[in-house]
């Protein structure tokens, strides 16, 4: 029977070709869309690593020249040495001010704890780095935070400890890594106390003070939120007392508020900060709000792709219906003949739907062949084979469901043709 159907489909190559292409195209787009959707859903289940409830973030904008970007022009003709001194004085003053802001916040009764961090979750800025260890290059997302950060954000400490006064005066840089990075850097062993040698090409041997040493391991820190793939993460210690020009200067303040704090708290906090630093701009937001906005941005391209996908599926429905209708009209005689030779109504229906299934299978077989290249060649390293498998299966189910439904009505029309009427067309 299958061979018979295959022959029928093959002999009618030309009108079938367009439909085959449309099915293939729809399948590929559908796989792309479902892969991303399944990817998101899969990531959503994994732990975030920090609390979202009762957390506020306050961004600090200092409006200063020579600030974050080095694209300002200082007045020309000035003495370069004096310029350097001026810059370092500004820097020291600024860090003192930031430190005082934290104290100001801690004075508020709603505030349970306050800390500062360089990169906030759900934000748009990114800080990545990499390190070579044992001949392999390890990439990781980086961040820096003050000693109170773990308590403030509710970081899940698995081993060791967070930064503290213990680290003052150490001859190395203390870091806290997430579990994934720990296992990657030190498989099987205890990462606490281990050194991570930073091997920058072209440099001379790194200074002892530049070496990183692991003091703690947290479960996770998903800086990009629930939909992003889990990645390696590393925290450096941040201190406002540190006057070194290269030291990290976190500008995002994080607060954990007591239960029952309302939105009115925002005004009190911002007013207090503005009184302490009138020239600076503060933007406060709850972590919940940042999360909502960020997730919208993640979903937007997916929604657009989904629309394209629906469009293509509609095209398939249209095309398939047209071609099947043509088939029935042109094969009325054939159908009548088959009926006269004993085919039942169900036989005719099955034959037509069977032909469509064969056509679909040819297209999706090619489609699966193409789609499967992605996990094999590991084009998107973050997406696991399980996600691909699930999305391919879901897409297959959708395509077959669509084509078989579109075949059903015409097949019923075909099977309703009376043999005598069909044969009368002689």
């Amino acid at each position: 029977m299958i061979r018979h159907l295959l022959k029928l489909v093959w002999n009618r190559k030309r009108p079938n070709l367009l439909i085959a292409i449309e099915i293939l195209l729809s399948f590929l787009v559908l796989v792309a869309v479902t892969t991303v959707a399944v990817f998101y859903v899969d990531n959503y289940q994994k732990p975030l690593g920090f609390d979202v409830d009762r957390i506020w973030t306050i961004s600090v904008e200092t409006h200063e020249s020579g600030g974050r970007s080095s694209t300002t022009i200082e007045s020309t003709g000035a003495d370069p040495a004096a310029a350097v001194t001026r810059a370092s004085q500004a820097r020291i003053a600024r860090r003192e001010q930031l430190g005082r802001l934290l104290l100001t916040l801690r004075d508020l009764r709603e505030v349970e704890s306050a800390a500062a961090v360089a990169v906030i979750p759900y934000g748009s800025s990114t800080w990545t780095s990499d390190v070579e260890l044992g001949g392999k290059r390890h990439r990781y997302g980086a961040n820096s935070g003050t000693d109170d950060l773990a308590r403030t954000m509710g970081l899940d400490l698995l081993r060791g400890r967070w930064f503290s006064r213990e680290d003052d005066g150490a001859s190395w840089r203390p870091v806290v890594v997430n579990q994934r990075l720990a296992q990657e850097l030190f498989p099987g062993g205890d990462p606490i106390g281990q050194f991570i040698a930073e091997d920058r090409p072209g440099d001379t041997a790194p200074k002892p003070a530049d070496r990183m040493r692991v003091v703690g391991v947290i479960r996770e820190f998903r800086k990009d939120g629930e939909y992003a793939a889990p990645e390696n993460f590393l925290f450096e210690r941040a201190r406002f007392e540190d006057t070194d020009a290269d030291a990290s200067e976190p500008r995002e303040l994080v607060i954990r508020v007591r239960p029952g704090t309302t939105g009115a708290f925002e005004e009190r906090a911002v007013t207090a900060l503005r009184n302490a630093a009138p020239d600076w701009t503060f933007q406060a937001e709850t972590m919940m709000q940042s999360r909502e906005t960020a997730l919208q941005y993640w979903l937007a391209p997916l929604s657009a792709a989904a629309i394209v996908s629906v469009f293509l599926l509609v095209m398939v429905a249209m095309g398939l219906t047209g071609v099947l209708w043509l088939h029935i009209t042109q094969r009325t005689r054939e159908i009548g003949l088959r009926r006269a030779k004993g085919a039942t109504v169900l036989n005719i229906q099955h034959q037509l739907v069977g032909e469509v299934v064969v056509l679909t299978s040819i297209s999706v077989a090619i489609g699966v062949g193409i789609a499967i290249q992605f996990p094999i060649l590991d084009v998107f390293g973050v997406i696991s084979p399980g996600v691909y498998a699930a999305s391919i299966l879901i897409s297959l189910a959708c395509i077959y469901l669509l084509t078989m439904t579109c075949a059903w009505v015409p097949s019923r029309v075909a099977s309703a043709i009376q043999p005598a009427e069909a044969l009368r067309y002689e």
């Binding site: 022009i73 005004e267 009138p278 919208q296 469009f311 249209m318 219906t321 047209g322």
Partner: protein, 417 residues
């Protein structure tokens, strides 16, 4: 073709379409859906790029919307800084007026325990002479205000209502980001996608909290150059280019700076397609992208419609044979078929229009894009109409041609060939 003829065509068309409901529905759905997708896309593009008040002088306005600095191992692309515009884009030959404006920035105000989020735009006085705002109250700030840094502001209607309830705004004061402003003018809301003109609060550029912006080469601002006529464009662009090339860079790690004067469309193309060392944008690439997308979205449905129409004809082969036997010329039959096709397309098209209007209204109402005012204006309507006719004609031509070549004898037997 007389009135009765058309009426009989329409009657028959209706009957045919009604008899094969499933196929008619699929055809209509396909046309309708395609039209909705294309028209919504057209409305959005029109909304972003077409000249809409207050940007009424777009035909003779160039802008400096982006700047790129290239160094040894890095490059930085961002908006131009105040210093770049002030130092190099002033007094260009052929420029009537020169406006500087900042990109909208979020500021918070606290009033009665509520937080009000607004977008502030800081501009120079010429900004109000390059753009043509339709002031509902009061007027803009002038050169004196900018020189003195007076704490005045123009606000839009929504902001006025947020701060002051229903009453008039001029003369009243409000606080934003810790600064207190006095309202001197109220303008209508400008959709946020119109980055050049949109803002909740418009204040003089000198009211910024610090004057650090004056020393920034890159970041946060844009410039508008109102030329005397479009023929001045090349001269303006060339002069700005040569000035920028000779510009002083922050430190010796940076080598080159670009900041072209171009139309907004060109700047979007430049941001999308600009390579590392590209100076000019390639607007033709953006046009090509838009065109290809539109073409793809139009061709697939058309081909499907052609197939559906062929089926419709084939099914009525014997009817066509009979008509030919009784003296219908091929042309008459083709006309009949085209009427049928147009009926189908127009119904699908009308549904598409209505649905597009709903979708756009929903988009406007949602808070996704504030002050969005997507409409089906004249341009978009004509585009949609053109599309519907395009579908109707194109999907009818091939089947009609095939039908005209039906041999009556074969047709009567139920085949076409």
């Amino acid at each position: 073709m007389g009135y009765t003829m058309i009426r009989s065509y329409l009657k028959l068309a209706w009957k045919v379409l009604w008899r094969r409901k499933f196929f008619t529905v699929i055809s209509l759905f396909g046309i309708c859906f395609t039209l909705v997708v294309l028209m919504v896309a057209a409305a959005v593009l029109d909304h972003i790029f077409a000249p809409i008040a207050p940007e009424v002088r777009q035909d003779r306005t160039l802008g400096v919307y982006r700047a790129r600095m290239i160094g040894d191992h890095r490059s930085q692309t961002s908006l131009p800084g105040y210093l770049l515009l002030d130092k190099y884009a002033r007094n260009l030959p052929g420029v009537e007026r020169f406006a500087i404006f900042s990109m909208p920035q979020t500021v918070y105000s606290y009033q009665g325990g509520q937080r009000i989020k607004s977008l502030i735009k800081r501009t120079n006085a010429e900004y109000w002479r390059v753009l043509d705002f339709d002031f509902l109250e009061g007027g803009p700030f002038g050169d004196q205000d900018v020189t003195n840094g007076t704490m005045v502001a123009v606000i839009n209607v929504t902001t006025r209502d947020r701060f002051f309830g229903g009453g008039p705004g001029v003369g009243r004061t409000f606080e934003a980001d810790g600064q207190r402003f006095r309202v001197i003018g109220v303008v209508p809301d400008v959709p946020i996608l119109r980055l050049v003109a949109s803002g909740d609060i418009y204040a003089p550029v000198t009211t910024a909290k610090t004057d650090a912006y004056k020393r920034q080469l890159m970041g946060g601002f844009g410039g508008l150059l109102l030329a005397r006529s479009p023929s001045d464009f090349p001269a303006i662009q060339a002069e700005l280019e040569s000035r920028i090339r000779a510009a002083e860079l922050p430190d010796k790690n940076w080598h080159r700076l670009y900041a072209p004067a171009e139309t907004f469309f060109d700047s979007v193309a430049g941001n999308l397609f600009g390579g590392r060392d590209e100076e000019r944008s390639h607007p033709e690439r953006l046009w090509a992208l838009i065109l290809i997308a539109m073409l793809l979205f139009s061709l697939l449905p058309t081909v499907n419609l052609v197939n559906l129409n062929m089926s419709r004809i084939m099914e009525r082969a014997s009817e066509i044979g009979v008509r030919k036997a009784f003296g219908a010329s091929s042309r008459t039959l083709v006309n009949q078929f085209i009427v049928e096709n147009l009926v189908l397309t127009l119904i699908g098209g009308a549904a598409g229009f209505v649905l597009s209007a709903f979708v756009l209204r929903a988009l406007n109402a949602s808070s996704l894009i504030p002050y969005a005012h997507f409409t089906i204006n004249g341009r978009v309507f004509l585009y949609g109409l053109g599309l519907a006719v395009f579908f109707g004609l194109l999907s009818g031509v091939y089947p009609a041609w095939r039908m005209s070549r039906f041999h009556p004898v074969q047709a009567l037997k139920g085949a076409g060939r």
